[in-house]
């Protein structure tokens, strides 16, 4: 890594010839201050946008905040006809689908990252890494399309109907719902497929950032490769990998289109059965916002958006701190897609 040379404003000014001797340095200094001004304004605008998002969303959700107060987050009735709104079932829906998605994808992603970083020879590593990065760039609406056309019909015939018809299994709370196809199970699976490349890519970058000395030390002491990975490499990267997982969680929480297309969009009370249709915070906004013509209705949806904003901000803040403390120059920390 090349360390940046940061030129403070003073060092340039100090070496300039005394003002007034030539016209050039003066105009140069003038141009420099304009230059700094432009940079400052551009950066301040970026800052302002983020603050404006928070402020605008808060203002727009004011009617709902006034009307429902904190009860908004603990009631789960969503009734646009009688204008009674509570977001609890969507908050639970978001947490529930994200939890299942992470349970499925985290072990697979970490295994894949370990494989790519520690085990695979470079002729496998390079193309597979490239492929995984490409797959992370596929738009979510396309995953949703696949989920709708392939995953949900397959789940109904091969998973949900057999389990629902099974006398022993269908008494469990997890399966205590008729087969639906578009439900929490489909949404969690789609989310798992979508966050896997992401968590894999970031974890792999973190593992690659671990100095080789650490591995060599362990191998030289006679540890096998697996013992090195388990007892040396993974503990060394622990905080960073936790960060990668939380970044994946951040994506899963905010994922909209793919989930909207396969979750069934039910406004009813939250039912933790895997085969019951539901909604997440993002999917209820995507589904109903364009049709919400009454102010209070729109405001309630905006408040859900505000809530989503705050939650993802918190989650990502934690993740970035963890990654920052593990590997300061891991590029994956800043990757977006």
């Amino acid at each position: 890594m090349v360390t940046p040379v940061i030129q403070s404003d003073k060092s340039v000014a100090e070496f300039e010839p005394p003002a007034g001797r030539h016209a050039v340095p003066n105009s140069g200094r003038m141009a420099d201050s304009i230059y700094r001004c432009v940079l400052f304004v551009a950066s301040a605008t970026i800052l302002a946008i983020v603050l404006a998002i928070a402020v605008e969303l808060t203002i727009a959700s004011k009617p709902s905040i006034h009307q429902f107060g904190l009860r908004f987050f603990v009631t789960d009735s969503w009734d646009p006809v009688h204008l009674k709104f509570g977001a609890m079932s969507f908050i639970l829906g978001t947490l529930y689908t994200s939890m299942w998605a992470l349970l499925i994808s985290v072990p697979i992603s970490i295994g894949a990252a370990v494989f790519l970083s520690e085990i695979a020879p470079s002729w496998i590593r390079t193309p597979v890494s490239f492929l995984i990065e490409l797959l992370a760039g596929i738009p979510s609406v396309v995953y949703g399309l696949w989920g709708l056309f392939v995953l949900t019909p397959w789940l109904i015939t091969h998973v949900e109907t057999p389990i629902s018809n099974d006398k022993h299994l269908n008494h469990l709370w997890l399966f205590n719902s008729p087969a639906n196809g578009s439900d929490f199970l489909a949404a969690s699976l789609i989310l798992a497929i979508m966050v896997t490349p992401y968590i894999t890519a970031v974890s792999r970058d973190i593992l690659r950032a671990i100095p080789n000395m650490v591995r060599e030390g362990s191998l030289a002491l006679g540890a096998t490769q697996w013992e090195t990975i388990r007892n040396v490499v993974l503990p060394y990267a622990r905080a960073g990998i936790v960060g990668a997982v939380i970044l994946g969680l951040g994506r899963a929480l905010g994922e909209t289109m793919a989930v909207t297309m396969v979750i069934g969009n039910a406004d009813s009370h939250f039912n933790p059965a895997l085969f019951s249709a539901g909604n997440t915070m993002a999917s209820i906004i995507a589904n109903e916002f364009a049709e919400a013509s009454i102010d209070l209705y729109r405001s309630a949806l905006t408040e859900i958006g505000l809530c989503l904003f705050l939650v993802t901000m918190l989650v990502n803040g934690c993740a970035r701190l963890l990654i920052y403390f593990t590997a300061k120059d891991v590029q994956g920390g800043g990757r977006t897609a």
């Binding site: 301040a44 295994g111 490409l134 696949w146 490349p197 697996w226 989503l308 990502n316």
Partner: protein, 297 residues
């Protein structure tokens, strides 16, 4: 670490066991990679096999049919997506690049704050950006001109806001790779700060920055959620900035969730077009510009 310092009577057996565990666990990691790739190739394989079957020339050149009538194509959506990308580029690129340059030129609390908030912006779900642009752009216009509101401009702004952090972070990373000797030489010759940046450092980092910009464009090209209530989608061909505009991802969403089979086929064709657009954008930049990030390398 292992704790068999005093040679155990069954040291050989222990070694066999350790080796076995080693092989099993390494294989398990390999299987994980295989599962991850397998799931993803299921998605891609399905799209490629069925998408190209549904893709005809007419899909590219025909506009949408009125609802319920078969036929028609995705021309409006393709043109709309290109329009939205153009607006997004006008907003996202200057702010992104200037923000990246600012990170290089200054340090201190303010620069740190800007960077922190850019990361925050990067993590905001895109649907929330859509909500923001709706309240900031669409609502005021709708209040001033009843009936109007949703517009290509609003959609482009939403995509542009999403682009900014990506462009800014890649610009910053690339600029940090430019050797400091270049900067010192230029400043040493008496060039001003801005001339050093625009005549020496930015040209040296040109290809890298262009790559970052193209990748950011590729990323927002597929965004659907922020367009739902900004660009809104439209049944008509339009290139007007102040009117609702169609976009390819919106078409895919509407077609896929419609009850008609021929629209499902169109959604698949649309998905292939969209993915090809995105892959082409990232592949062309990657290979046309080569892997070199800086000019002189």
């Amino acid at each position: 670490m292992t704790t068999q310092e005093p040679p155990a009577p069954n040291a050989d057996w222990l070694m066999v066991r350790r080796n076995a565990v080693n092989v099993i666990c390494l294989t398990a990691a390999g299987l994980c990679a295989l599962v991850a790739l397998g799931a993803l190739s299921l998605v891609l394989g399905y799209l490629v096999l069925n998408g190209f079957k549904a893709l005809h020339l007419s899909t590219l050149v025909l506009g949408q049919m009125p609802q319920g009538e078969p036929g028609g194509g995705l021309r409006d959506g393709i043109v709309g997506t290109l329009m939205l990308l153009a607006v997004a580029a006008v907003i996202g690129i200057p702010f992104g690049i200037l923000g990246g340059v600012f990170q290089i030129e200054s340090k201190g609390k303010f620069a740190w704050t800007v960077r922190f908030f850019t990361d925050v912006l990067n993590s905001i779900p895109s649907i929330v950006i859509g909500l923001f642009v709706y309240t900031l752009v669409v609502l005021p216009i709708a209040a001033a001109h009843p009936g109007d509101g949703y517009s290509a401009l609003a959609g482009g702004i939403a995509l542009g806001v999403i682009m900014v952090p990506t462009v800014m972070r890649t610009t910053e990373e690339i600029l940090r790779l430019v050797p400091s000797s270049l900067r010192e030489a230029s400043l040493g010759l008496g060039a001003t700060q801005w001339r050093t940046m625009f005549s020496v450092i930015l040209p040296a980092a040109r290809t890298g920055i262009l790559t970052g910009v193209m990748l950011a464009m590729a990323r927002v090209a597929g965004e659907t959620a922020p367009l739902l209530f900004t660009a809104f989608g439209s049944n008509m061909f339009s290139v007007k900035l102040d009117k609702p505009i169609d976009a390819l991802p919106i078409d895919i969403y509407n077609d896929a969730t419609s009850p008609y089979n021929y629209l499902h086929a169109q959604a698949l064709a649309g998905a292939i077009i969209l993915i090809s657009m995105i892959l082409l954008m990232s592949l062309i930049t990657r290979y046309a510009l080569g892997n070199k990030v800086l000019e002189q390398k």
